[in-house]
């Protein structure tokens, strides 16, 4: 059965590591839904978080292959519920939203987002959450024709359990 798997890899911050990692997906014809590369809490070591929809067998093979990549220090796969993971999205919204009491109340008070810029015609708001939550708000704004722009980041993750962070003891 196909479902979403989140692969978390700790890698040397080196040219071509990302190509090696994405090529493991490419060769199996797996589309990457979300990708985030950022420096981990250890200098010179990056965290790569990839989410993709595939089968248990395939993700097992992908992770085994990634484990053999020279610059990969540690790699494993998770389900959403194993991790605390958030994405961040920016929404460009027509200022008209402020003229409707219920809609503006939603944006200002109930959406768990914050306004980061306000212009005459548009306001830019920021919200973090699961992809589902971010997409849901996007759809809501879209259906009311307020949405003028949208950008969503990849996943930032942390292991829920302390002992999952045994990583990086390698160095």
């Amino acid at each position: 059965m196909n479902r979403e798997y989140i692969v978390v890899a700790f890698v040397n911050n080196q040219i071509s590591v990302l190509n090696r990692i994405t090529s493991a997906y490419l060769k199996r014809e797996i589309n990457i839904e979300s990708l985030n590369v950022s420096e981990s809490f250890v200098k010179g070591i990056s965290t790569i978080v990839i989410s993709a929809i595939t089968s248990a067998d395939t993700i097992e093979r992908i992770v085994n292959q990634l484990g053999n990549v020279i610059d990969v220090l540690q790699v494993d796969y998770y389900h959403q519920e194993d991790l605390i993971y958030k994405e961040m999205a920016l929404y460009k919204i027509s200022a008209d939203i402020l003229s409707d009491k219920s809609d503006s109340d939603y944006i200002l008070n109930r959406s768990n987002s914050r306004i980061i810029e306000m212009g005459k015609e548009f306001l830019i708001i920021e919200k973090s959450g699961s992809r589902y939550e971010l997409e849901k708000m996007k759809e809501k704004l879209e259906s009311k024709k307020f949405l003028a722009g949208y950008s969503r980041s990849g996943n930032a993750i942390l292991h829920r359990e302390q002992d999952k962070s045994i990583l990086l003891k390698v160095s």
Partner: protein
């Protein structure tokens, strides 16, 4: 501290020498010229073999490595030089051959400008290398070359590509080779072999009724052939081999029961389907070995021993996995194993062999009615007259399967073939490399007429470098394996498999290589004897039956006991 400023190109050569490299295979070109200029000064220290095409260089490096156990090295220029070695790199990855391939690259300030002969070699080779690195400064040379060799030969071996920019070749660097460097690479760390798994494996072996050992190339790489024999003898267990594992165990050993797989022997394939315990050592359950995976070894518990844990449960689910070097694991198993011969199992194996001899082997080899030559007879002749001591290097196709079936091997590293990738054109250059890597051994390249013509320009390399190589062309004027499949599975529609061939004897003459053509059976043994006794290179063309098929055969997607013969 004394400073020792040398050019990056000289640093490359000094580092190669530090790594124990005595031979490199290569082809010069624009961007690699600074390295070749320096090589001129190192002619006495490094034997450079000039090939005729970069594909020849990489296959020769593979043959060198497979025959010697050392890391093979090839060099090529940027762009087309680099893309021409791609096939060999892919071949080396899938067949776990340690290579360091050095290709030139345009100067680092010109990268990404579509400069003359610029190709993005790193990106092209990412999926087919164990590691790759672009050196953009001469200061990186010493460390990166050391790291490249360490990665190529450590753990499961594989190819490494170094892209060397022109400026890095020319710049000066304060060269110091660091033999004390330790590379902390998690996936290459030695694994602790699980003692509880060893104990469990011993119990499984000792209580099994119908065990069998399958050896793959991992046994050759870790030089575990002798240990596997000891294990087999203590456990009275038959040993069978994959194509890549051939010669790990001498073919005449009483416990050696033949080859598994699509064109393997009857016994090993039938055994697989009846065995209750398979001990798979250094092999990866390729589709050519397993047939239909859902019906593979239905009665067997499988103990999978491999250095690469990514191979576990990849295509075949195993009962017990032991990660580690084959030799180390087998050595741990030996003391605990004690098991006597199961006569029922033993007679089953003997029955299968009798059936194969009666139905296939004897019929083919003793065919006195027909005076045309079967490929089996040609390979058998080389095996008999060479007394199983020659290194056989093959190309890909029917002749390769006949070589696997009818060759005899007394020593390890005696069967060099392109297994996983099935690269036609591999044979001739790989045989050149094998002879250079194992100069004390007789090397015979056995090729089909199709594969020979893919890289026949390497006859020029044989001529120029005086390689004492025997080349046998089994000429059926067909792309025989494809034709066989067309006959069996495509209603005999021979779509573009018939070959109009040139006169191979004239080609051989043009390269100043002694040659002979044999067309009838009676002349075969004499010609093979003459070839093997000849000092120097020799090309023997054996005209074989046009439409011969390799049998037995497990058709693609069938179960191992659904055998055509």
């Amino acid at each position: 501290m004394q400073k020792n400023y040398i050019k990056g190109s000289e640093a490359v050569l000094k580092s190669l020498i530090e790594e124990g490299v005595d031979t490199i295979f290569g082809y010069p070109g624009g961007t690699i010229m600074p390295l070749y200029d320096e090589l001129f000064n190192y002619k006495e220290k490094i034997n450079h073999i000039l090939v005729r095409h970069e594909q020849g260089a990489v296959h020769a490096a593979q043959g060198y490595s497979r025959a010697s156990g050392k890391v093979g090295v090839c060099i090529a220029t940027a762009g087309p030089g680099a893309t021409n070695i791609v096939t060999g790199i892919a071949d080396a990855l899938i067949d776990s051959t340690p290579l360091v391939c050095i290709t030139a690259q345009v100067s680092s300030d010109k990268l990404g400008t579509n400069f003359f002969q610029e190709a993005d070699t790193i990106s092209i080779t990412v999926p087919i290398t164990k590691w790759s690195y672009q050196i953009t400064s001469a200061d990186e040379v010493a460390v990166i070359i050391a790291k490249a060799f360490y990665i190529a030969r450590t753990g499961r071996p594989g190819p490494v590509l170094i892209s060397l920019t022109k400026n890095a070749q020319i710049e000066l660097t304060n060269y110091k080779y660091r033999s004390d460097l330790v590379f902390n690479i998690p996936c290459l760390k030695r694994v602790q072999i699980s003692q509880s798994s060893i104990k469990e494996a011993i119990d499984l072996i000792n209580s099994s009724k119908k065990p069998m050992i399958i050896v793959g190339q991992g046994v050759i790489i870790s030089e575990a052939g002798g240990d596997v024999i000891e294990l087999a003898e203590r456990g009275s267990m038959p040993i069978v081999s994959t194509l890549m594992g051939l010669s790990a165990v001498p073919s005449n050993h009483p416990l050696f029961a033949g080859n598994v797989g699509m064109h393997g022997n009857l016994a090993p394939n039938m055994m697989t389907q009846r065995s209750d315990l398979i001990i798979a050592i250094g092999m990866r359950f390729s589709d050519r070995v397993t047939g239909d995976t859902s019906r593979y070894a239905p009665m067997a518990k499988i103990i999978h021993i491999d250095i690469d844990k990514a191979e576990f449960n990849k295509t075949i689910k195993s009962y017990l996995q032991i990660q580690g070097d084959a030799k180390e694991v087998v050595k741990l198993l030996i003391p605990g194993v004690k098991r006597s011969l199961d006569s029922e199992w033993d007679s089953f194996i003997k029955e299968c062999w009798k059936k194969e001899r009666d139905l296939i082997i004897d019929k083919l080899l003793s065919d006195s009615v027909n005076d045309t030559v079967s490929m089996a007879q040609a390979v058998d002749s080389i095996a008999r007259i060479g007394k199983g001591s020659v290194v056989i290097v093959t190309d890909v196709g029917q002749h390769q399967m006949f070589c696997a079936r009818y060759s005899k091997f007394n020593y390890g590293r005696s069967m060099i073939t392109s297994g996983g990738l099935g690269t036609m054109g591999f044979g001739l250059p790989a045989a050149i490399g094998a002879k250079v890597g194992a100069p004390q051994r007789d090397v015979v390249a056995i090729l089909g007429d199709g594969g020979f013509q893919m890289t026949l320009q390497e006859l020029g390399t044989i001529m120029q470098s005086n390689i004492d190589l025997k080349v046998v062309i089994l000429n059926n004027s067909f792309l025989g394996m494809v034709r066989q499949w067309q006959e069996l599975f495509f209603e005999g529609r021979y779509s573009f498999t018939e070959m109009i061939n040139p006169n191979f004897i004239q080609i051989s003459n043009a390269y100043n290589i002694v040659s002979k053509r044999v067309e009838i059976r009676e002349e075969l043994d004499y010609a093979v004897k003459e070839m093997l006794e000849f000092r120097g290179s020799y090309l023997l063309e054996v005209v074989v039956r046009n439409e011969e098929n390799v049998f037995p055969m497990v058709p693609s997607g069938s179960s191992l006991d659904e055998i055509l013969y």
